[in-house]
Amino acid sequence: MSKRGIVLYLHAHQPYRVRKYSVFDTAINHDYFNERVYETRSNNEMIFKKVADKSYRPMNQVLEKLLERHPEFKVSLSITGTFIDQALSWTPDVIESFKKLINTGRVEIVSETYYHSLAFFYSRSEFERQVEAHKSKIREIFGVETSVFRNTELSYNDSLAKWAEEYGFKGILAEGWDPILEWRSPNYVYRPAGTNNISLLLKNYRLSDDVAFRFSDKGWSQWPLKAESYTDWVNVSLGDKQIVNLFMDYETFGEHQWEDTGIFDFYEDFVSRWLQNEYNTFYTVSEAVDEFQPVGEISMPHTVTWADSERDLTAWLGNSMQQEALKYVYELEEDIMRSDDPELISDWRKLQISDHFYYMCTKWFNDGDVHAYFSAYDSPYDAFLYYMNALRDLRWRLYHKHLTEN
């Protein structure tokens, strides 16, 4: 009989933020991602090093310790290509510590787009190129293959599942959102509508968000959260079902919830407590897919994400600025690819990183304060202007390349 399992999945990502790139830079300086001032929120190196100190290094130590101490402990990670590139430039020891984790054989890497992009919704060809680029990067750096897919911001719909099945993935991740699930529980493996050979793992958002969002919220009735009560909640939620999928940002540990909230100790304690019961275990995402048969079919014709209270893509394409910016960047695809110029292609792809559009989000109020916290700019309008100037410069470079070649 299968053990009762937790599927812990952490997502590590850092974007290349566009610097304060004005109309006076356009057609002159082409270093969109290289903010010259160090101590500023749009300086990628500064942010990466800061988050490495606060989150990547201490959390990797915690994971290493848990893997050593508990043979049953397992974790799945998705690490974007833009994360790996920046880590290699500025904190190569972080990559080394990830390698160490992966070499235990109990840490699985999840597939996604290299550039944390929304390409699936704009260009299937570009999307597949980015998935392929990510696969080879993971192979090159960590020496492992991927078999389960997650799309940017856990965005998911039926056609994505069909694509993933045809592409050869055996599992795919999505949000376990109530309006979709209705009476059903996220604690089972499901089959995406219209597929035969791929399984769907759904995030248990209540239990995930207790840690990811509410852990340090002093206004929350359950604050301060102890590992003991959290273990109870997971037990109750799981009951005699299959698995509890705890999906969250890697940066939850140390960056969204700072060390002084006790998040690291809490997590160590929780893992130990969970494994005190001999019928309990952890599964990686592909192990969960192998272990359990889907109990039913789930259909999501419309795109669902793990973001905001709407669980949709409106934080990325809800306003006209975002729609315009996305339109212009994907319009360039044919010309950029034809240029066959690695630098142009790389800059174009960096401009597809979904975070750029997130910074342009104008949904204030409840979700907005989260957005403001993660923004590199004074306002969504600034984000839009810098982005558009960079995009025009890219177009200018493309044009001048054609001129000089013809």
Partner: protein, 412 residues
């Protein structure tokens, strides 16, 4: 009295290079022209700064604020004023506009005690109260020079009531009023009930010589726009504060209409202001964000080059007492499109005019110029012959006549 023997107390709010708009530029040039004729001018500003290029008059700094702190107060907007009554204002609180004004008045009281002026010349509501106080103390004639009214700044009849009150008081107390255009004179007569005979219209001028300072257009400042120009695009420019007074929402809608008919045009919006975010959003709503360029606040080379990169300059104001930027744009080789609600149109003929709300007409005019080389070049050429005729020297002569026409306090 000869102008050369006259002591003029000028009450202003800004001077270049610490100006945020046209008021400072106009004050600078008219003072210079008066000084050239021998007048002795004491010019009061509400902040402390050095003006190395101004040696023709005495500049008095009324408060220890830096020019930057004064920008924070807003040189023009009365929106920051709120409803504080004057008696409650603390003249030691220089973060508050009323506090600064109170301090400014104290300083003027001290100044006129030292030296009695022959004429007091106050510019706009910001200095009107100081002007009235100086008149009380010295019995010298007060000239209120209106560059803009609260009706212009608010773009409506619903401006700040306190500012309306101050303006009204100043207009009543003034011995003579100078308005920068007939449009402004009309507002003073119609909205404030001031007798037309009390008001003299003196248009601003442009000092062409001040632009001949060895300036050479730098093609690399707006290199991307230049590359578009090379590819056959027409650059439509406006340089202004992004406030409701400037009619930029209508301008943006007209831009979208023009783009839907003719592709090869782009729009350069140089400046900053409270409507900036709204305008950025609007350009995206209208689907033309790729064709609209925002520079932020520009000065120096970036400011001059913004004029030079343009082919067409649009002044879209809902209510513009004068509009010096149109003359500056003409000097830098732009065809002009100006609203009928802008005073500068009264001194020019070779321009296109439209009503600020008439987006179709503006779109039509933009496309007309963009698609006709002949129209483009004749507008540019002909307007040059017109603005050259307007000089600050003539403005000084008119001031002199006004100063002398006042019996009270002036002995000839």
């Amino acid at each position: 009295m000869q102008l050369s023997k006259m002591n003029i107390l000028m009450l202003g709010w800004e001077l270049p290079p610490h100006n945020s708009g046209g008021l400072g530029v106009a004050c600078y040039h008219m003072s210079k022209a008066l000084a050239m004729r021998g007048a002795k001018i004491d010019f009061v500003i509400p902040y402390t700064a050095s003006h190395p290029n101004i040696d023709f008059m005495n500049i008095h700094c009324a408060t220890p604020l830096t020019p930057l702190q004064r920008y924070g107060l807003g040189a023009y907007d009365s929106s920051k004023l709120l409803n504080k009554s004057f008696t409650k204002a603390d003249m030691n609180d220089l973060k508050d506009m009323r506090g600064v004004q109170k301090r400014y008045i104290k300083f003027v009281e001290y100044l006129v005690g030292e030296k009695c002026p022959d004429v007091i010349h106050a510019h706009d509501w910001l200095t009107i109260e100081a002007g009235i106080r100086a008149k009380e103390l010295t019995d010298a004639p007060l000239i209120v020079h209106v560059h803009a009214t609260e009706f212009d700044r608010s773009g409506s009849d619903n401006g700040n009531p306190l500012v309306h009150e101050i303006e009204y008081q100043g207009l009543m107390m003034a011995d003579r009023i100078i308005a920068v255009s007939n449009i402004t004179k009309g507002i003073l007569v119609q909205k404030y009930g001031i007798p037309a005979e009390k008001i003299e219209v003196v248009h601003n001028a442009i000092d062409v010589a001040s632009f001949d300072d060895g300036y050479v257009y730098d093609y690399s400042t707006y290199r991307y726009l230049e590359s578009l120009r090379y590819a056959g695009y027409t650059i439509v420019t406006t340089i202004t504060r992004f406030t409701i007074q400037k009619g930029l929402v209508n301008f943006m809608r007209a831009a979208a209409k023009a783009c839907s008919k003719y592709d090869k045009i782009v729009f350069l919006l140089a400046g900053d202001g409270e409507q900036r975010d709204e305008l950025i959003r609007l350009s995206a709503d209208l689907g033309i964000s790729d064709k609209v360029f925002f520079t932020g606040f520009v000065r120096g080379k970036q400011w001059r080059d913004a004029y030079s990169v343009g082919d067409i300059f649009v002044m879209s104001s809902v209510s513009e007492p004068f509009g010096l930027t149109a003359l500056e744009a003409a000097h830098h080789d732009n065809a002009l499109i100006v609203t009928r609600q802008s005073g500068v149109g009264e001194v020019l003929n070779s321009i296109f005019r439209y009503d600020f709300w008439d987006e179709d007409r503006l779109a039509d005019q933009i496309i007309g110029i963009a698609t006709s080389q002949a129209l483009n070049s004749s507008l540019k050429q002909n307007v040059k012959n017109e603005y050259c005729k307007i000089s600050w020297h003539d403005v000084a002569t008119k001031f002199y006549n006004i100063y002398n026409s006042m019996k009270q306090g002036v002995v000839s």
